[in-house]
């Protein structure tokens, strides 16, 4: 049957292409959609929280320029967000809302916005301008994080106990 031959070809071709692609990128194919996207993104988000808390502590202590490293970290992690939300990754453990995939363009835009806000904070901190940094930091939580958490995350049911200092990350 002619179709059968074509199908065989398709399968063969795909496998070869995939093998070549993965060796070219040096990445095993299973890494692209991580095996536990929920755990990975929760880890990333926890780091975001710790970075932002650290930045606030620095602001309070008057360490303005030191905030830049936290802000840049947040800018970098923001680029990783969309890839951590593959289709079908909603589980019991996840606090993600189905709206993420219903409004994917908005979700992506929100992640991008986080990066833009973080870069704003970073640049203000780099300039060592305390007033400018404070002005950006004042709105940062709501503008950089809230604008996404608002529509796309189920809020945590308990206030986190006890108030966690920035270094309270879960060991893996």
């Amino acid at each position: 049957m002619k179709i059968r031959h074509v199908k065989t070809g398709i399968v063969l071709g795909s496998l070869i292409a995939l093998a070549l692609a993965s060796s070219a990128t040096g990445q095993s194919m299973t890494k692209l959609w991580t095996s536990d996207a929920v755990a990975d993104r929760q880890r990333l988000m926890k780091l975001n929280g710790a970075s932002w808390a650290d930045a606030q502590a620095k602001l309070k202590a008057g360490s303005i320029e030191a905030i830049a490293v936290n802000a840049e970290t947040l800018a970098l992690t923001s680029t990783q967000i969309p890839a951590l939300f593959p289709e079908g990754s909603l589980t019991d453990k996840s606090k993600a809302k189905p709206e993420i995939w219903q409004k994917w363009a908005e979700f992506e835009a929100a992640a991008k916005n986080m990066g833009v806000q973080a870069e704003k904070l970073r640049d203000a901190a780099r300039s060592k301008d305390q007033a400018a940094t404070e002005a950006v930091a004042k709105e940062f939580g709501r503008q950089a994080c809230g604008t996404c958490h608002q529509p796309f995350r189920v809020p945590p049911p308990q206030p986190q106990q006890p108030p966690a200092p920035p270094q309270q990350l879960q060991p893996r």
């Binding site: 808390a53 939580g141 709501r142 809230g146 958490h149 608002q150 809020p155 308990q158 986190q160 108030p163």
Partner: protein, 299 residues
């Protein structure tokens, strides 16, 4: 004409003119800038009347959907539009709706709008709030009719429920201005925190014996946290952290408020974030004084 008849003319003229004189003096009492500022501040302290605003749509134009055991209602348009909003209502009529839950046509409000709680607001604050409401841009949007599924709900069930079960706040003579008393006023009445944060009894009234103890089945299917000072299941943040949270949404672990709490902190034309530091600290101070309720919400 004798003196007597002239006097009678004068009295008659005065009587005829008096309504005009009185209403003129009422109209002359346009709200001052200070009162409007106070009204806007109160508006923010209630969370920006967000229940009357569909997110991203015009402020106070109504249309937001609420499902309950009674059926479904939609928030009213409370902009000053004369046809579809409250532009044609008098101040007294608006205040009656806010405090007592009655419309000018006698209709009862379903207490999704927590009038028994808003009744705890001081008269001056409500008056200022009304003055501010009249300055919000008018939007033409007809109210969506409610769908009540419980028979005889408005005529029998609701009045009975209100008198038997609904806890009712009463207004102070004057709003407290500082300290724990201020915090209590802002939490119990203005901020109406209990409406979300207090668990409900079987009759769906707030269980004020567990005030602010958290609600596992809150509005829009939310799990609402226990914010009593219970060490194991409640809120253990410092006063400074609580005040900061209300002003920015920032939590001590770097997380940021989202969901409905994020909405009321942000507000609409004003929100919790616009309260003064003193007021936010007063709220925090008050929260530390309420009884600890052991109630674990969520996992």
């Amino acid at each position: 004409m004798g003196l007597g008849s002239q006097a009678r003319c004068l009295v008659l003229a005065l009587l005829l003119l008096s309504p005009a004189l009185l209403s003129e003096s009422a109209a002359a009492q346009a709200p001052s800038a200070a009162e409007l500022a106070r009204g806007k501040y109160m508006f923010g302290a209630t969370g920006g009347c967000g229940c009357h605003t569909v997110p991203k749509q015009p402020v106070n134009a109504g249309g937001r959907k609420y499902d309950g055991p009674f059926g479904t209602v939609y928030a009213s348009n409370i902009t000053p539009d004369r046809e579809t909003g409250i532009g044609g209502w008098t101040d007294e009529q608006i205040i009656t709706a806010i405090r007592l839950g009655r419309r000018p046509n006698g209709e009862r409000l379903i207490p999704v709008h927590p009038y028994t709680v808003f009744n705890g607001m001081a008269a001056d604050d409500v008056k200022a709030l009304v003055a501010f409401l009249r300055t919000v841009p008018a939007v033409k949007r007809a109210n969506q009719p409610k769908k009540i599924t419980v028979p005889m709900f408005e005529s029998v069930v609701l009045p009975a429920w209100l008198s038997a079960f609904a806890p009712r706040e009463t207004p102070p003579a004057a709003a407290p201005t500082s300290g724990v008393a201020r915090g209590e006023y802002l939490v119990r009445a203005v901020g109406h925190c209990g409406e979300c944060h207090t668990p409900r009894t079987m009759t769906m009234a707030t269980d004020n014996s567990r005030f602010l103890g958290g609600n596992p089945k809150g509005p829009e299917d939310s799990e609402v946290p226990n914010i009593t000072p219970d060490k194991a299941t409640g809120l253990t943040w410092s006063e400074e952290e609580i005040a900061d949270y209300l002003g920015t949404g920032n939590k001590p672990d770097g997380d940021v408020a989202g969901g409905l709490m994020g909405e009321v902190i942000e507000g609409t034309l004003a929100g919790f974030k616009d309260m003064t530091k003193a007021d936010r600290l007063a709220i925090a101070q008050y929260l530390k004084t309420i009884p600890a309720v052991k109630n674990k919400i969520g996992q």
